[in-house]
């Protein structure tokens, strides 16, 4: 396989795609891997939510009208946070860190009404994205967002609430089938007292903590939350669970048991070093295997970011970004449930697919996809195209997105063949009928050809 294809694959998975210059650069794959890690050394936090929006203890004492006002502010800033993160991912050069952050965002799925908490959790996931999984897990477990979402504030001595303990094991570390209901009960006891204060900081309320002896996964002791986490990390199964998820997110929907077993050993033996693991993953021969190239369905956020980054899209109405996320089935900071987004074929059904295929044309050309007139239904075709051209201005007014078409077109060599253009834009070679019947006759300028390629089912793959 040629270098270009491998580099295209690397950036599709470790980032959100690549520009033509990167695609044709003379660096080796290994050098690109190093570059990706280099650029992600820094961690730029997202800081758009004012800390004055922390939840107020006296909220019930405030007049009703003020309460409503505060709730509306929270919603407004929640949206701002969503858009800010999307914007950061659209323009940053720390793509690997942001992609890892996106993975952890789904792994540690959380929904909170408080935008300060949500922002803090996001920044934790970004800060530790390429660091120690143990530190990441601890920081996430102590975050107000997670403690609130999984009701640990309500987990008290004599009146345990098991939600947090359950999800910690089922979803964040060891996975189902490797613990008992009794382990959950005991774990819940260990986490009693883990709460947070009005400033959004972790707080240990000793009065609520169950100091008694617990029996957890065969071990006995007066365990606190940190002890439980340590015991969970001692189980190699935790490394296996995390590596399987990483494999499905970055490599292939179908787990290769042999490969994952190898990654598990590395991850466990390194003491859960994420950077080391990902370096191994992106450097491995199997990562560039045919069966892994262009075989994953892009998640909604990957699809959107690919377009944003390639064409310098600027949205004058944040509403548009919301609408797109909603229809495609992935809204940042609003996972469907505690286990995040299942991914793969689950992204695709009748309605989401049609919108995905239309997305590029909606954003780049007011919904217009130029197509050559076919002999069989000339009247039908004419009518539809006229409708589309009329609608174009209307769609553009609604979507309110600006493209930096100039930069993109300048980056593409003049006279590039449609085949080569297709190979750059798509991870999967477009089918011959598509090229011969649709692209070749239809598009007579760069923009039309690009829009057509981006409207193909192949563009949905990465």
């Amino acid at each position: 396989m040629n270098n270009q294809k491998k580099i295209q694959h690397l950036y599709a998975r470790a980032g959100f795609g690549l520009d033509y210059a990167t695609y044709t650069s003379t660096l080796t794959v290994g050098e690109h891997v190093d570059l990706l890690f280099d650029k992600s050394r820094k961690s730029d936090p997202v800081l758009v939510v004012d800390r004055s929006l922390l939840p107020r203890k006296d909220i019930k004492d405030l007049p009703k009208i003020k309460q409503v006002e505060l709730l509306e502010e929270a919603v407004k800033y929640g949206k701002k946070l969503n858009v800010s993160w999307l914007n950061q991912m659209s323009s940053c050069d720390t793509v690997l860190r942001e992609k890892m952050c996106l993975f952890w965002h789904g792994h540690f799925a959380c929904r909170t009404l408080n935008p300060v908490f949500a922002q803090d959790l996001n920044n934790i996931q970004r800060q530790y994205a390429l660091g120690s999984f143990k530190e990441l897990l601890l920081a996430v477990s102590k975050s107000p967002a997670m403690l609130e979402f999984l009701n640990n504030k309500q987990n008290r001595k004599q009146h345990p609430n098991e939600n947090f303990a359950r999800e910690l094991m089922e979803l964040f570390t060891i996975g189902r089938g490797h613990y008992t209901e009794q382990d959950i009960k005991e774990s819940a006891r260990a986490f009693t007292g883990w709460t947070f204060d009005v400033k959004g900081n972790f707080e240990m309320k000793l009065a609520q903590h169950d100091e008694g002896e617990k029996t957890f996964m065969g071990r006995k002791g007066n365990f606190g939350g940190e002890d439980i986490i340590n015991i969970l990390l001692e189980q190699k199964q935790t490394a296996h669970f995390i590596c399987s998820k990483l494999y499905r997110f970055f490599v292939n929907d179908t787990v290769d048991d042999g490969v994952v077993a190898g990654l598990t050993e590395s991850f466990y033996n390194s003491g859960y070093d994420i950077q080391k693991l990902m370096t191994e993953l992106f450097g491995a021969d199997w990562f560039y295997d045919e069966k892994n190239i262009g075989t994953k369905i892009k998640s909604p956020v990957e699809l959107l970011l690919g377009l944003n980054r390639s064409f310098g899209l600027k949205y004058n109405e944040p509403k548009t970004l919301f609408y797109i996320q909603k229809v495609l089935g992935q809204i940042l900071f609003l996972p469907p449930n505690v286990s995040g987004w299942p991914g793969g074929k689950n992204w695709i059904d009748s309605s989401s697919l049609m919108f995905r295929l239309k997305l590029a044309s909606l954003l780049l050309d007011g919904g217009l996809i130029e197509v050559e007139e076919k002999d069989d239904n000339p009247e039908d075709y004419k009518e539809m195209m006229e409708k589309e051209k009329k609608a174009q201005a209307k769609v553009e007014r609604k979507i309110k997105a600006e493209t930096d078409w100039g930069t993109f077109s300048a980056s593409i060599p003049k006279g590039i063949s449609k085949r080569d253009l297709g190979e750059f834009l798509l991870s999967v070679i477009p089918s011959r009928p598509f090229l011969e019947q649709i692209i070749d006759p239809g598009a007579d300028n760069l923009k039309s050809a690009v829009v057509e390629f981006l409207s193909s089912p192949e563009y949905q793959m990465c």
Partner: protein, 382 residues
């Protein structure tokens, strides 16, 4: 008319059939507290375990000597009195799971607690061999996304929130061209092939659903809620004669760990008012006798309240069925036994799969044993 290559003739429209039966599945997501929905208002244990949360006997709308509605369900009293509602108590399954994700998957896939199936029961109905399940539009979910319940091993139902919008999306000349250029080899089993298959099916189904449903103008008065709106969409589909057999819709927010009363009351009111309007709409159009509704939640909640005026995840709970053709109605089996709990939770009496079995076998005339993997004893409500 959408142009499709000749080898895809199987996607052609089948004749519209009125008078066929359909079922509407309503999912209450989050784990609805059954004990505060159908209240055991003469039971001391209920009041002891829920000092702050129990519904006072005076507020309960009694249905029989022991059980009654949470007052928020007021709108369904008339429906109940007309014999259109059946309440099945203590529905669950052996070795209940209290995780949302897991329990909902169990209900969606109709699996045992220790099995992991990746296809949904309605999806497997579409996979099976029967008159009403040859097309993916024979099962419609009124939502933006498709639930696991609606995804079979080979076929998926279609998610339609707005028929016109879906139709317009598929009529683009560009997409028509792609569909017509698709050859058999492209409909492979991998992810890309899956996209092509979905595209073709969608085009064909969208056309059918839109053309059929636009013939019926729905002027019935529904309450203002997303949920009621979705029910209105379903009634439009039913009343226009769509040959769809299964509809699916959900209402979420029932995970009441904290401050249960206000949250649950609001949701139950939305639910009751929506269903009441839906029932009357279908009655008016003479489709009520051919329609069956089934409402469930992935689990009930613990008998004892927790420290935050809420309840934690529980086990068995009630299931509601509604139809103009119920063979058994009212309180169909004995109420919850609060003196015989399993670690603070209700024990199940009826396996939820026997409810599915009856819907599939008796109502939809499908092979329920094949779809569910084994046979279940039925209650005889329909």
């Amino acid at each position: 008319m959408l142009f499709v290559p000749s080898f895809l003739k199987s996607f052609e429209l089948s004749p519209i059939g009125f008078g066929h039966k359909c079922v509407v599945i309503i999912q209450l997501s989050g784990g609805n507290d059954g004990l505060n929905t159908i209240v055991p208002f003469t039971n001391d244990v209920y009041y002891q375990k829920r000092p702050k949360l129990a519904i006072p006997p005076k507020s309960v709308i009694s249905l029989n000597a022991e059980l009654g509605f949470n007052p928020a369900m007021q709108a369904l009293k008339e429906v109940y009195d007309q014999g259109y509602m059946g309440i099945i108590n203590n529905v669950g399954y052996p070795n209940p799971d209290r995780s949302h994700f897991r329990s909902m998957d169990i209900w969606h896939t109709a699996s045992g607690a220790d099995e992991y199936l990746s296809s949904g029961w309605v999806g497997r109905y579409l996979d099976s061999d029967c008159a009403g399940c040859t097309h993916n539009y024979n099962a419609i979910e009124v939502d933006d996304t498709l639930s696991l319940a609606m995804k079979g091993q080979f076929n998926k139902a279609i998610a339609v929130k707005d028929a016109r919008q879906l139709y317009n999306n598929t009529r683009e000349p560009f997409f028509k061209d792609i569909v017509s250029e698709t050859d058999r080899a492209m409909l492979s089993d991998d992810n890309l092939g899956y996209l092509y298959k979905t595209m073709i099916e969608t085009s064909s189904s969208a056309d059918y659903i839109f053309q059929t449903s636009k013939t019926y103008k729905n002027n019935f008065d529904y309450p203002k809620s997303d949920f009621a709106n979705q029910l209105k969409t379903i009634s439009t589909f039913i009343n226009s004669g769509l040959s769809t057999r299964v509809y699916y819709v959900s209402l979420s927010g029932f995970d009441t760990h904290v401050g249960q009363s206000a949250k649950q009351d609001k949701l139950l009111k939305t639910y009751a008012e929506g269903i009441a309007a839906f029932v009357n709409d279908l009655k008016k159009n003479n489709n009520w006798n051919d329609t069956l509704l089934m409402t469930f939640s992935e689990f009930g909640r613990r008998v004892e309240q927790n420290a935050s005026e809420g309840t934690d995840h529980g086990t068995a709970s009630n299931v509601f069925v509604f139809s103009g053709s119920l063979k058994k109605n009212g309180i169909i089996n004995s109420g919850p036994d609060l003196s015989n709990l399993e670690e603070g939770d209700l024990k199940f009496q009826v396996d939820f799969r026997s409810v599915y079995s009856e819907i599939l076998g008796s109502w939809l005339q499908a092979n329920s044993q094949q779809i569910l993997g084994k046979s279940f004893e039925m209650l005889g409500f329909i």
